[in-house]
């Protein structure tokens, strides 16, 4: 993936009078014995794209559902666009829209009927509702499929219709739960463009994602959560600085030298070394190319034969490794990190 450093957009917020789109303090939600969200604070300024990044089961969806008034929190409080989610949920609902992980559409109805139905529920008169539906269908390249039943839509079309359904009335905050999971790369690019445009039009967007790349591409700010807790927050740049801007991947010609290589790398870069499950491959946060160069020189100087090496951006695994010291983001019960 080519490195395209993105200038974080300055949110349209007067920092002197921070009126936050979302303000949460100590949100907790339990399901039986499982604590899905274990005390999360969140401050999202208006007009920002804010990503909640974490592995499956980290509590991302539960956090979103609480803020969208779908799941009441067990403890903590939150306001969305200034309205308390617990005491004034109906006011919150006037200024939010949520696009869930699974298309929340009526599959038996056509795309157009779905949008007209939602516009009517918002209170548009029949003519205006049809007008708004057609406008959105046109904008989302769905005009040709407007009169097809949603069950015949492709994954990308469903996702677009689902997002369109969230824009019948311009929301103050749009919640997107894993907006590109299950989409092919071109559909994913389309959704990304759409999200950027929406943010540019002033909509605050809170999205969840499992992909560091997605958060990196889209978000002004990223909160990393794991096991229901926020373990880091910042701009993508800040997070990368925390994890080291680049990861050095090394493949050894001889598996027997792996211990020696790991020791050398660790000593040189002052960073823990991860071993690939297949063996003979190591990755380590290098910081920058110069440091990586020096480390490679040290390896060669130490008589270690390299098969291959490359620099890459940290993966979600590596961010997690750096933030939590645990190697596998998707399987936190199984730490395989080197000491």
């Amino acid at each position: 993936m080519p490195e395209t450093p993105q200038q974080p957009r300055t949110p349209n917020v007067d920092t002197e009078h921070i009126d936050l789109a979302i303000h949460a303090r100590g949100l907790v939600r339990r399901f039986g014995d499982l604590t899905a969200v274990a005390g999360i604070d969140l401050e999202v300024p208006r007009g920002m794209i804010f990503a909640v990044l974490g592995p499956n089961g980290a509590g991302k969806t539960t956090l979103l559902r609480m803020l969208a008034t779908l799941t009441p929190p067990d403890a903590g409080r939150a306001t969305v666009m200034g309205h308390d989610i617990a005491t004034a949920p109906e006011k919150v609902r006037f200024c939010i829209a949520m696009t869930g992980q699974f298309a929340s559409l009526d599959e038996d109805l056509t795309g157009r009927e779905n949008l007209v139905m939602l516009a009517r529920l918002w209170g548009f008169r029949p003519g205006a509702a049809r007008g708004r539906a057609d406008e959105l269908l046109g904008a989302f390249e769905l005009s040709a499929a407007a009169r097809k039943q949603v069950k015949d839509y492709s994954g990308g079309m469903r996702r677009r219709l689902d997002i369109a359904a969230s824009l019948i009335v311009t929301p103050g905050v749009l919640f997107l739960d894993e907006p590109t999971t299950g989409l092919d790369p071109s559909a994913r690019q389309g959704v990304w463009r759409l999200i950027r445009q929406l943010a540019a039009s002033g909509v605050t967007i809170l999205l969840t994602t499992q992909y560091l790349e997605e958060a990196d591409q889209l978000a002004d700010r990223i909160a990393v959560i794991d096991h229901g807790r926020k373990i880091a927050e910042g701009t993508s740049r800040e997070l990368k600085a925390a994890t080291g801007s680049g990861v050095l991947h090394i493949a050894l010609a001889d598996n027997a030298q792996i211990e020696a290589a790991a020791e050398l790398l660790s000593a040189h870069l002052q960073s823990a070394v991860q071993r690939s499950p297949e063996g003979a491959e190591l990755s380590v946060l290098a910081g920058d190319a110069a440091a990586a160069n020096a480390a490679i020189a040290a390896l060669i100087g130490g008589g270690i034969a390299l098969a291959d090496f490359r620099m890459g951006t940290p993966s979600l695994d590596e961010v997690f490794f750096a933030l939590t010291g645990k190697q596998d983001a998707t399987d936190p019960e199984n730490p395989k990190a080197m000491p």
């Binding site: 779908l70 529920l121 039009s201």
Partner: protein
């Protein structure tokens, strides 16, 4: 605001213009939209009508021609006895489908969207009810039509038949709550159906729909006599033959009223909790 972006993949700016919420609609308007949704479903999935009427049609034909003569002396007499009962059974069975529909909607995440909209909380259920009532009317009409072709004659004429259909809708409305509760509690539509029919088969068979309970053992007869389905059937027979009494109608209405009064708050509670 007609500026369309040239980028084919990018939505036009016009659609992203700020659209403020219109004046919030009333609960009735919300409910009617959901009713409209139910009607659209009839248009897109007409097969559902087939599911609804095939069983009662089979029952009508089989019971009339196979058992009718033995049970009532002649198939004509039996049909005269049986038809109001099968109407009750049709409506009671049909309410299972609204529970299944609800369970499907939940599974698909559709209700998540409804619940994030600033609408009357009970509106989706009111819409389900509208769909149900339509289903009851259509299915009831078809069964009555077949009955008329086979020789059934409602002695109370048009007025009596209309009153009977009003009673049917009331029964359907009351029973509907039971399956909305089931639809909210049970995860999969298939389980709703299985559970529904497990309850409904004994309740409709151990009633006076198919036979006069006179020959049943005493313990069963005492159940049949207080079975709400029997009370409803008795009232419907009365209405269609012009022999109904106020007490018959009152007894038949107990169950629908009690179900509505007790289950509507339960539905609201479950819905908010879910």
């Amino acid at each position: 605001m007609t500026d369309q972006s040239s980028d084919a993949q990018t939505p036009g700016i016009a659609a992203l213009r700020r659209v403020p919420p219109p004046t919030p609609p009333g609960p009735l308007s919300n409910a009617l939209v959901f009713g409209w949704r139910a009607i659209l479903k009839f248009r897109h999935v007409p097969e559902q009508l087939f599911d609804l009427v095939m069983t009662p049609i089979m029952f009508t034909l089989l019971f009339t021609f196979v058992f009718g003569g033995a049970l009532a002396g002649s198939t004509g007499d039996y049909l005269q006895f049986f038809l109001p009962g099968i109407l009750v059974q049709t409506v009671v069975f049909n309410s299972v489908y609204s529970g299944m529909g609800l369970s499907t909607d939940f599974q698909k995440g559709l209700f998540d969207r409804f619940r994030t909209l600033p609408i009357w909380s009970l509106a989706p259920f009111a819409g389900l009810m509208v769909g149900d009532l339509l289903r009851h009317l259509i299915a009831g009409g078809i069964i009555l039509g077949i009955g008329l072709i086979l020789g059934y004659r409602p002695e109370a004429g048009l007025i009596g038949t209309l009153a009977a259909f009003a009673m049917l809708l009331t029964i359907g409305f009351g029973m509907g709550w039971v399956f909305i509760v089931l639809g909210l509690l049970v995860r999969t539509p298939m389980t709703v159906m299985t559970l529904g029919f497990t309850i409904l088969f004994p309740v409709t068979f151990a009633s006076n729909i198919m036979v006069d309970p006179a020959t049943m053992p005493g313990w069963l007869r005492s159940f049949v006599e207080v079975n709400p389905v029997s009370l409803m059937t008795t009232a419907l027979r009365g209405l269609m033959s012009g022999t109904s009494s106020l007490s018959q109608i009152g007894l038949a209405l107990i169950a629908p009223v009690v179900l509505t009064v007790t289950l509507a708050p339960v539905v609201l509670l479950l819905y908010r909790r879910r």
